[in-house]
């Protein structure tokens, strides 16, 4: 309620409500500058160097983009995709295959972003076309199976993928004559990932309010009613699947270029689940919410849990030092999923439209 009132009287809020893309750009820039600054003040500066922080923020933003993509499928269209990491993997391998010593090719990075999106979309449609007729929970199982098949294939087709070891030495992006991305300087990658995040967030926001977005709403809330209203549900679901998959494909390319190696083990079920946990935590259907969820979950596991480990080791607390707190992340995902579903299914930041759904439900009970 407070937010709504302040929106009416706060001119800047009203401005950004009308110019949302500009709002995203401003928000991302402000956060993008603030976050590295914060890491310079205690206690954050004691944890790791600013470069390491920036690196962590970059990876966290990559996960945020993944969450935005999964949210299109799960939050907008209401289709449970449990094999989302597969598309992430396909994007990564697409770039790795044409820009690493393994194949001997050296394609430039920038057009491969589009190639990653296309590969993702193609596989999304290939998987979706036969299976989207199935009911929701069967779809979940099929995507889960797909999420397993892709790493198994990448692992076993070692003629093309180099098996377990994966493809290493992937080319870093460069702007010819101006800038060469390197492993030691995390800043260019940071800026690039933030820009991609902003661009994808803008596109997804516009999609949400478009005709397609409203179609997804209708299908999610009542598929039968949507179909009766003349919506081709299979096409609409395919669109959601393709959009989600292509976002994963793009960010897969970026991820491969960032860490310069792809291997089947990076794309296991746990990646799909942690992304889902981020979506559920942030609030299904709320683009900014799920991005925040992913960002927080990633930082929590990669910084806080690691810190707990070193802290306990430093003080050599007898029983606790035996425990690797990083193992807790998996329990954490489980608890997030269960507790959120039972106590706050709309997530921490409920989506405007979804909130109404959950309210209706409460009333009808």
């Amino acid at each position: 309620m407070m937010a709504r009132i302040s929106a009416r009287f706060d001119p800047s809020r009203a401005f950004f409500a009308r110019h949302r893309s500009l709002g995203i750009l401003v928000g991302v820039s402000v956060l993008g500058i603030l976050l590295p600054l914060i890491t310079r003040i205690p206690p954050f500066d004691g944890i790791q160097s600013t470069n390491a922080w920036v690196n962590a923020f970059t990876t966290a933003t990559i996960y945020a983009v993944l969450a935005i993509g999964l949210n299109v499928v799960v939050g907008f269209a209401g289709l449970l995709d449990l094999g989302y990491a597969a598309f992430f993997a396909l994007g990564g391998y697409t770039y790795a295959l044409v820009a690493s010593p393994f194949s001997g090719l050296a394609f430039p990075f920038w057009p491969m972003l589009i190639a990653g999106a296309i590969v993702g979309a193609i596989f999304g449609v290939l998987l979706g076309a036969p299976t989207l007729r199935l009911r929701g929970d069967y779809l979940a199982i099929v995507t889960l199976g797909f999420g397993e098949i892709v790493p198994i294939t990448l692992l076993n087709a070692d003629k093309f993928t180099n098996g377990t070891n994966g493809l290493g030495g992937i080319d870093k992006p460069s702007i010819p004559g101006i800038l060469q991305f390197t492993l030691t300087n995390p800043w260019p990658m940071y800026v690039l990932v933030l820009l991609i995040f902003a661009a994808i967030a803008m596109i997804v926001f516009r999609l949400e309010d478009s005709r397609v977005g409203r179609t997804w709403d209708a299908i999610r809330e009542d598929e039968l009613a949507a179909e009766s209203a003349g919506i081709n549900t299979v096409i609409a679901k395919l669109q959601a699947f393709a959009v989600g998959a292509s976002i994963a494909g793009i960010i897969g390319v970026v991820n491969a270029a960032k860490i310069t190696i792809v291997a089947p083990d990076q794309f296991r079920f746990i990646v799909s689940i942690s992304t889902l946990a981020a979506v559920v935590l942030g609030g299904m259907g709320n683009t900014i919410g799920v991005a925040t969820g992913a960002f927080v979950i990633y930082l929590f596991q990669s910084i806080l849990l690691k810190q707990l480990n070193t802290l306990v080791e430093n003080f050599s607390i007898p029983i606790l030092s035996e425990i690797d707190f990083l193992d807790f992340q998996y329990v954490l995902y489980g608890i997030v999923l269960v507790v959120m579903m039972l106590r706050r299914p709309q997530g921490i930041f409920p989506a405007r439209r979804r909130k109404r759904t959950f309210d209706d439900q409460k009333r009808s009970e």
């Binding site: 929701g136 099929v142 998996y330 489980g334 299914p345 439900q361």
Partner: protein, 336 residues
């Protein structure tokens, strides 16, 4: 969405053809795989079938893919290990037959009842509050529960493969032609078949079994007829999880080891088995379990062992797309 119309009995039309088909299938696989591999597949199939029953029963009655079921099975292998090592204090094979029988009864009873209880607890706290929620909600909760179970076990027993004393001596065996047939395998298959037969009789003949069938068909109408819905659903979880417990004991007896990640793969395969047989159909789940095992063992016999999982999932996708009602058919499938 109307309530489930799943039947838990074999449809009449296929009842007569089924034994013939199974016999023909077994003969063909025996011929292709040879006796050794055939016995392997049969044993693995018994385990898958026992797990698949839990999936199919729960899906039949509340239309939920219970993702946590595979992990209940995994947890049960650790309960069985604990019972064998700590409660019974065994560290190797038991050669005396009366002692072995008592030990087996205790292991099965302890594991099955504990897992049954676990199933009831999971249903009560994770699924029941969401029974009227949107379909996605319980599904997501189930995944969460699966993760929690996995990691509790990982904390308690570590991430590595743990070996468990095999109390049925592996040396007990007899020869059929060139092949050695261990008693252990026979026991595993027999135990699974007996449990399945008992379950089938229970569902078909008892009052409670009838309540389960009517609840699966139409929950509201059953409630009006005086069926206690909550109790019936609870019972379904109890039986399904107890069967997973039995499968866990069988796993430990047969393989002599276990690991916390076991539930995910086995669960997926068992679910595939349930779909293959026609989800909601208990006889189908059993059939599917054996089929999957034969496919998997066949794949590794021909040198595609590493692809085993991939082949099974491909099979799952093909079945879901072209024949969602499964082999034995069930009315739940047509709304898939």
């Amino acid at each position: 969405m109307s309530a489930a119309e799943a039947t838990t009995t074999v449809p009449r039309t296929s009842a007569a053809r089924l034994p013939l088909a199974i016999a023909a299938f077994l003969a063909a696989t025996l011929f292709v795989l040879g006796l050794d591999q055939f016995i392997n597949a049969l044993t693995l199939g018994a385990i898958y079938a026992l797990i698949a029953l839990g999936y199919t029963m729960v899906y039949g009655i509340i239309e939920l893919i219970n993702f946590a079921h595979g992990d209940v099975y995994m947890a049960s292998t650790f309960v069985a290990m604990f019972t064998i090592q700590t409660l019974l204090g065994r560290s190797g094979a038991i050669e005396s037959i009366p002692e072995l029988v008592i030990a087996l009864v205790i292991v099965f009873a302890v594991t099955a009842s504990l897992m049954g209880l676990a199933g009831v607890v999971i249903e009560r706290f994770a699924y029941r509050p969401l029974r009227r929620a949107p379909r996605l909600a319980p599904l997501i909760t189930a995944i969460g529960v699966s993760f929690i179970i996995q990691n509790i076990i990982q904390f308690a027993f570590g991430p590595t493969i743990v070996s468990v004393p095999q109390i049925i001596p592996i040396s007990w065996s007899f020869m059929v032609g060139e092949s050695r047939v261990p008693i252990l395998n026979l026991f595993v298959v027999a135990a699974a078949l007996i449990l399945m037969a008992v379950l089938q009789l229970f569902i078909a003949r008892t009052r409670t079994g009838r309540a389960m069938r009517t609840t699966a068909m139409d929950r509201d109408a059953s409630a009006l007829m005086g069926v206690d819905i909550n109790k019936t659903i609870m019972l379904t979880f109890l039986i399904g999880s107890a069967l997973a417990g039995a499968a866990g004991v069988v796993h430990v007896l047969y393989y002599g080891n276990t690991q916390f990640g076991l539930g995910f793969q086995s669960g997926l395969k068992a679910f595939t088995a349930a779909v293959l047989g026609g989800i909601g159909n208990t006889a189908g789940a059993a059939l599917g379990g054996f089929l999957i095992a034969f496919v998997e063992v066949g794949a590794s016999a021909f040198g595609y062992g590493r692809w085993g999982g991939g082949i099974v999932f491909t099979l799952l996708v093909i079945f879901l797309v072209f024949r969602p009602t499964g082999l034995l058919g069930s009315s739940t499938g047509d709304r898939a």
